[in-house]
């Protein structure tokens, strides 16, 4: 994973609450066996009519919104299914950060692993950002190192868990890190009761 530090770019407002991962990437696109190629299907059923024609009023089809890097969303963004495909689709389309009052727990974990920043800010702050983001030219800067979001005169600090922050800033491979804990993992395995391991096998 590439390190993530400062993201600066235009915004897209999506002011609905409880946007679930079924909307972010509908199930018909989950049969692929790759991690890439989901960007074209981001919010597919909102972005197209039932006849497959692009809906001109949805941001993915708006020329002015192309190249935007930060999505501003309502509370509980990414709730529902655990599909990491939702994060892959958001990243593939070009977003590097999502700012919302809250996120689905699994979506947030998946985002750290894929290198998408999920920034939680209070409702009223997100409302202000949604207003600013109505202009397709408005630029926002998300600085992970210093934990600051800035858009013109607007600036606010955000909280971020230190563990994920470090991994994102350094672009660390979490599996590689965990494998360094080999001794502790083996020690735990030695402590496990025998009946717990009896079960599976063929």
């Amino acid at each position: 994973m590439n390190p993530v530090s400062v993201i600066s770019g235009r915004m897209v407002p999506l002011p609905h609450a409880d946007v679930d991962t079924d909307q972010i990437i509908p199930k018909q696109f989950l049969t692929r066996t790759e991690r890439t190629g989901y960007g074209d299907f981001l919010f597919h059923d909102w972005a197209t009519t039932e006849d497959g024609i692009p809906s001109s009023d949805f941001f993915t089809n708006d020329p002015a919104r192309q190249g935007a890097r930060v999505l501003i969303a309502g509370r509980n963004f990414g709730c529902g299914s655990s599909r990491e495909h939702a994060v892959w689709a958001i990243k593939d389309w070009g977003f590097d950060a999502v700012i919302a009052p809250s996120f689905g727990d699994i979506f947030r974990n998946n985002s750290v692993n894929v290198g998408l920043l999920t920034i939680e800010l209070p409702d009223e702050i997100v409302s202000q950002l949604l207003d600013i983001a109505r202009s397709p030219h408005a630029v926002v800067t998300v600085d992970l190192e210093n934990q600051i979001v800035e858009a013109g005169d607007f600036a606010v600090e955000f909280e971020f868990d230190p563990g994920p922050k470090d991994r994102l800033l350094k672009g660390l491979d979490p599996i590689g890190l965990t494998l360094q804990e080999e001794e502790a993992i083996s020690a735990h395995e030695a402590r496990r009761p025998g009946w717990m391991s009896e079960a599976p096998g063929q």
């Binding site: 002011p15 609450a17 599909r83």
Partner: protein
């Protein structure tokens, strides 16, 4: 010693290293075809192997056909996914219940019925309904594909310590009210993000009185309330269910396991971060009317008016829901005609669910113009239902009787509900497009779904018994 919750005991037992986040050991990793291929290819790319194939179980469920299986999988991408899982499990020596295995089924039905799911375990799966396994007093939660890869390689996961929530279901369950109504009722009260950041422990007399399958229905939908996981303390009901299951401990192992399991329940005086009470006596059968599982109400009420919601975000959501669902405020729920009935899923696809539905259906016919389908949760559930004569009851009534899988719950296979049509569904999610683009879902219990199939519209099943 400080009194501890069941969650804390299981958490403490599994910390390999660290505090918050802690590196947790995983006792059982369930794998299916849709969220695993990228994880296995990631392992291959890094030249890593599966650390504990013996603690890993794979099956196919999400995108497989529920009829004409002898013809194979017609969709080439779905076929490739299933083939990829078979190859990956062969390569890494993982137990695989494939399409032709009599134990194949929805991963959250297969784990419990074969005894893989046990109290005190940490259980993960690349599927949000992994919370189902918490019914046994396990800490079970859904993970994404990168985490699947992490567990395959290390048998561990870094986890931030969640908050704990007790949900007390006080009082006995009224006649005609089911586990599905308990959890739908809870989510409608606490909201779809009410459990965010928490592990819920379901407690109280009404919970203690539930069978294992009913407990699974409750824990299954924890994620729909936004919770990380849901759990219920193991007791005699749990132990009786597990004893003799193929993968349950045996002999001396059983005795040792029983001793361990008996100590898992939350200690008296242990503290939860949050406590909520549900008045069980006031519960009635519930049905969803909107586009998230919190948009649910008693069958005795009517479609709400957006103007009655004060929170602007909620009002926006209700307006959008009524538009998608083509419903007018004030319409009694029992006046809503349906086109489809789906009986199945990891929420309500087990034998007791089918028995409850069959009781309602027996001697009756599916209404004209309604297409009704039963998809057993596993091939073992299917075989048992056939042995008990339930399939005959359903077929005589005009239901289509299918092979096991997730089917119309998320409609990744051919079982898609057409646009604009309305489905009474025993599944767990009524999201837009979930059962098919433009399809309108009403979540309810198996008995309520069966009654709707016969009536051709939503009904209060209590009036039938």
């Amino acid at each position: 010693m400080t009194p501890r919750t069941m969650f804390e005991k299981i958490w403490d037992d599994h910390v390999v290293t660290g505090d918050d986040p802690a590196l947790l050991y995983v006792d059982l990793h369930l794998v299916h075809e849709v969220t695993s291929p990228q994880a296995f290819s990631g392992l291959d790319l890094a030249g890593r192997s599966v650390r504990r194939p013996d603690l890993t179980l794979a099956t196919v469920d999400h995108a497989i056909p529920t009829r004409a299986r002898s013809l194979g999988i017609r969709d080439p991408q779905s076929k490739k996914q299933v083939d990829t899982l078979r190859k990956n499990t062969e390569k890494h020596g993982i137990t695989f219940f494939g399409l032709d295995d009599p134990r194949q089924g929805i991963v959250h039905v297969v784990g419990p019925e074969n005894g893989f799911t046990q109290p005190g375990k940490v259980i993960v799966c690349g599927d949000s309904h992994t919370s189902t396994h918490g019914a046994f007093g396990a800490l079970a939660f859904g993970i994404g594909t990168s985490e699947v890869e992490h567990v395959l390689a290390t048998q561990t996961l870094w986890q931030k310590r969640p908050l704990t929530m007790a949900v007390e279901f006080d009082g006995p369950l009224p006649h005609g009210v089911t586990a599905k109504d308990m959890i739908l009722g809870m989510i409608s009260q606490l909201g779809v993000s009410g459990g965010q950041g928490h592990v819920i422990e379901y407690r109280g007399d009404a919970i203690r009185g539930l069978s294992m399958e009913e407990r699974m229905t409750v824990c299954n939908m924890s994620i729909e309330g936004g919770a990380r996981a849901g759990m219920i303390a193991p007791d005699e009901t749990t132990f009786a269910y597990l004893e003799g299951r193929p993968r349950a401990p045996k002999d001396a192992g059983w005795d040792a396991a029983l001793e361990h399991w008996s100590g898992l329940a939350t200690d008296d005086g242990a503290r939860f971060d949050t406590t909520n009470h549900i008045d069980v006596a006031a519960l009635v059968p519930h049905v969803s009317w909107g586009i998230n599982p919190g948009q649910t109400a008693p069958i005795t009420s009517s479609v709400p008016d957006p103007a009655s919601f004060t929170d602007p975000a909620e009002r926006d959501s209700v307006v959008r829901a009524l538009q998608y669902m083509a419903l007018k405020p004030g319409t009694p729920f029992t006046a809503i005609a349906i086109d489809h009935v789906f009986l199945g899923s990891c929420t309500n696809g087990r034998i007791e669910d089918l028995r409850n539905a069959a009781k309602v259906v027996a001697g009756r016919k599916v209404a004209n113009g309604v297409s009704a389908v039963v998809v057993p949760g596993s091939m073992q559930v299917k075989a048992q239902a056939e042995a008990e004569g339930l399939s005959a009851v359903f077929e005589a009534a005009g239901f289509s009787w299918r092979e096991a899988g997730c089917s119309s719950c998320l409609a990744m296979n051919d079982d898609v509900i057409p646009s604009g049509e309305r489905c009474a569904s025993t599944s767990n999610r009524n999201f837009e497009g979930r059962q098919g683009r433009g399809a309108r879902t009403h979540l309810l219990s198996p008995a309520m779904a069966a009654a709707a199939a016969v009536a051709g519209h939503l009904v209060d099943v209590r009036e039938w018994s």
